[in-house]
Symmetry: C2
Subunit: 340 residues, 2 copies
């Protein structure tokens, strides 16, 4: 047992529009030995995710806002370095919400920490394809969008952590998949993951051009839209939707940094005549699917049906850069920070 | 048996924006005696409904567009005046889609005609509370919006044929109901139907004012929104929605006459965080509910739990006026034209 030091990131101030490096400040904390019921953990990986932008606003939401000066939180994987908890031993692998820091001491429940059984997967996968983003993709496409064999599926943000998993699940379910991503490199990745058609949205800056590309990729229309970006993509998906199409609204990253209200889809009236179902969801509502998810995902990874890409930045110092990179499209697949 | 003459309405040209009297033209047809398998019917009532506006555009939709010069169609009730069909006899009551005319001879299936059993209800109710608008309300609020006891329900167009039925079904199911309608007279009607709170939208012309009124009427938010109007009402409903709220999108009459694309709700991003479900529907998808609907509706009407209002115009000559009146809010409850 020993006291550790931990470099940690907090908000210096609330971002306005696109977050900046100066919105974050680093501090160094001393991490004490665990008291009764506590564990001491050294993080090896932390996650940065688009949803964190929402917590930087001071507003009511499904998760409370981050507080200025307090260490940020988010997904992390680490190893127990000392334990005063009967269920945890030194060396145990732990996933928690104690990200944005190098180490921590707390009761597991305070950090939503759980011990991870041996999966044969690399630790980092627990923050991606076999973690929260993976379950988001799984619950969203299978339950919220009610995917059926043979559906024509449109996925935006298809090179991201969630989107790339959605593409592959839909292919496993024998669907036709159209993925949208930004730039040739990401589009190649989406194609490699099995998408039938890929749209490079950076080649289609106007709505008219984007909807034209989607119509060309899906001449008979789409049955399912998995939305990670909102904006023009959502409007184009409504335009190309077949009757009774289902939309899983996972995120709208195109709007996360908006400082003015953004007009909604101008064709929303088509929801009536086409009998569309547009449904938002949050992964935490669907944790009942976790056991089946892990079983399916482990099988798919082992059989080579599910690939996953990671973009890794090194060291706690890079965490704000990694986070900012999400909004300029720097990541292919899951964006991670390697800590130890 | 005899030949009848029938005054009938057709489109003279496709309306641009708000329809005008001059968009319609009347003609007189000779209605022959029925040949084998046909019936001859004299209409006593015809219906005008907002959805008809959509059929006046020349575009692909869930129902084909009306053709210039061809007699319009829509809900009608009439009596068989001559029959060459084994299942129909003179005097039988018939509901059909052969509206916008005084009489017709055709095979029943060509006019989607059905013989109506004795219900004890006035004939006109078969075009309203016990007909297509009634089933629209019933399927929309109970199935699409998945109404639960105790829900806080917001209904727009609450004095209309569909909306006024929704208000009463929600009260029968022990919900708190907020209705929106235009003008004091309609608001009084909605209140008399049992709504807990009424919003006169003509007193709230800006979005900010409307959302303020809805927040005051539903301080804890809404669980269900039954949408007949779209536009600001939809945006206000999203703003006031509780987590997991369900929206039944029945119509968006505020946009039916728009000549330019109308911006969608600027707060559509809330669909994600609040996990909203926005679902459009068309009554014809839910005709499997018809038997239960008629049984429930007859019981509710007999026990005094379901009231219905009608706005009646007299004579086939008034049909375009009756239709135009839907868009200026001239109707309380179901708008009908009495023909015989």
């Amino acid at each position: 047992m020993a006291t550790l030091t931990s470099k940690e990131w907090a908000l210096a101030k609330r971002p306005v529009g696109m977050p900046q490096q100066a919105d974050f400040s680093m501090k160094e904390e001393s991490i004490g030995e665990p008291k009764d019921g506590e564990i001491q953990v050294k993080n090896s990986w932390m996650s940065v995710d688009p949803y964190m932008r929402g917590r930087m606003y001071d507003r009511e939401s499904y998760v409370p806002p981050f507080q200025i000066g307090e260490t940020l939180t988010g997904g992390a994987v680490g190893k127990v370095t000392a334990s005063a908890h009967p269920d945890y031993s030194e060396g145990d692998l732990v996933v928690s919400m104690a990200g944005w820091r190098e180490a921590w001491t707390a009761k597991p429940e305070e950090m939503m920490a759980n011990k991870v059984p041996q999966t044969g997967l690399p630790d980092s996968a627990l923050l991606g394809v076999a973690g929260m983003p993976g379950l988001t993709a799984y619950a969203g496409i299978l339950r919220v969008a009610d995917l059926k064999e043979g559906d024509v599926v449109f996925v935006s943000g298809a090179a991201g952590a969630v989107g790339s998993t959605v593409v592959q699940i839909a292919k496993i379910k024998n669907c036709t998949v159209i993925g949208s991503a930004g730039g040739a490199e990401k589009c190649n990745l989406v194609k490699e993951l099995g998408a039938d058609e890929v749209i490079d949205y950076k080649q289609h800056e106007s709505y008219e051009s984007l909807v034209g590309a989607l119509k060309a990729a899906a001449p008979k229309g789409i049955d399912v839209y998995f939305d990670n970006v909102g904006g023009d993509h959502l409007e184009a998906a409504i335009e190309c939707a077949r009757p009774m199409a289902r939309f899983a609204e996972c995120g709208m990253i195109s709007q996360y940094n908006a400082t003015e209200p953004v007009p909604g889809p101008r064709n929303i009236i088509q929801v009536v005549g086409k009998q569309l179902r547009i449904q938002g969801f949050i992964v935490s509502t669907h944790t009942d699917m976790q056991p089946q998810f892990l079983q399916d995902m482990a099988g798919w990874i082992q059989s080579g049906k599910m690939k996953f890409e990671e973009t890794v930045m090194e060291g706690i110092e890079t965490a704000p850069d990694a986070f900012l990179g999400l909004f300029s499209g720097k990541n292919k697949g899951k964006m991670l920070v390697k800590l130890g």
